[in-house]
């Protein structure tokens, strides 16, 4: 089976500054993967490179087998901060735009999602709280029938009820063959959701492990594993 994501020898510089260096990462189809790292570690840049929103890297990127930018974009669903939409635009109108632009946007799935997430799509973008905004991004992103979904810090700064709803919607609506990459910098609440974790540190991927293997082999939680890597308590030869 084709892997969902294959990155080989990826290096990316912007304004003479190295953002990512020598990244190698293979993610199998159907997994839910946590992309963990401190702010500024390069998580968002990695997602933007996968989605062909950042360009000019060295090395190869394949998304569900596709290497060229436009095909990669067609294979993955990524909603970056709802930029480019008028603040007064209603959610319904944004969804209509998505339906027009993306052939894989499933209108019924979108309606099911906003109902489950308790969103009123008659509201305008500038009427949304932080949590509602994240929920709306989730609804738009998951409503597409893509091979790979990228969720960039969907739980940052939102209340616990919204977080539970979002996690519930991911479990409920992820098709078995779909792959999901979720970035975050604190992990405990989403740990039971993750098949695997990828840790980004010092501009590269330093660890990639199954969450159950972390619990089994190290006898520690995903959060402790992640912190252990950042604090230098877990060394390369132990991974």
């Amino acid at each position: 089976m084709t892997n969902a994501i294959e990155i080989t020898d990826l290096t990316y510089r912007k304004n003479y500054k190295t953002i990512l260096a020598d990244v190698n990462l293979t993610i199998a189809t159907g997994r839910v993967v946590g992309l963990l790292g401190e702010n500024g570690a390069g998580k968002t840049t990695l997602m933007r490179l996968l989605a062909d929103l950042a360009k000019g890297n060295h090395g190869n990127i394949a998304v569900a087998g596709a290497t060229r930018g436009p095909q990669r974009r067609a294979n993955l669903s990524f909603t970056e901060h709802l930029q480019g939409f008028r603040p007064g635009m209603k959610l319904r109108e944004v969804a209509d735009f998505y339906a027009a632009v993306y052939p894989d946007f499933a209108a019924q799935k979108y309606l099911d999602l906003i109902t489950f997430l308790q969103l009123d799509d008659d509201l305008a973008l500038n009427q949304l709280s932080r949590g509602m905004r994240e929920k709306f991004i989730i609804a738009l992103t998951l409503a597409r029938q893509a091979r790979v979904y990228l969720l960039d810090e969907p739980f940052a700064g939102i209340d616990s009820m919204s977080r539970k709803r979002i996690i519930g919607s991911i479990i409920r609506w992820k098709q078995p063959e779909a792959t999901m990459l979720i970035s975050d910098h604190y992990v405990t609440e989403i740990a039971p959701l993750l098949d695997e974790v990828v840790v980004v540190k010092d501009q590269t991927v330093v660890a990639h492990k199954s969450s159950e293997a972390i619990r089994q082999d190290f006898g520690i939680g995903v959060e402790a594993f992640y912190e252990g890597i950042y604090e230098g308590e877990i060394h390369d030869d132990e991974l």
Partner: protein
Amino acid sequence: MQFDDKVPIYYQIKTMFYHQIIAGELAPGAKLPAVRQVAVDLTVNVNTAQRALSEMVTEGILDAKRGRGNFVTEDVAKIAALKHRLIVQDVAALYTQLHALRLDDAAVVQAVQTYIESKGETS
């Protein structure tokens, strides 16, 4: 359900179902929820829920009926054996912990005895 992040989640799910089966909350022949429903109810990954259920099938405690779902075995001997296994496991853990506190066998029995006799008084 709150999971202990240090212990494999699939193992904790199995243990939870095994306790429900032994306590009779899930009777012999009872149908378990579908994998995705288990995942949603427990807020865990579908693959993790799948692994827990598959192992319970392998261990003979669940019968997988094609196209119909997973059912608690109607073989009560298997459930009795499971109960025995869990009791031994829990007693072994207690015994190991008390031994680590340098209690000898007689003292372990005494400690358990004293606990049982006194627990009615405090509550």
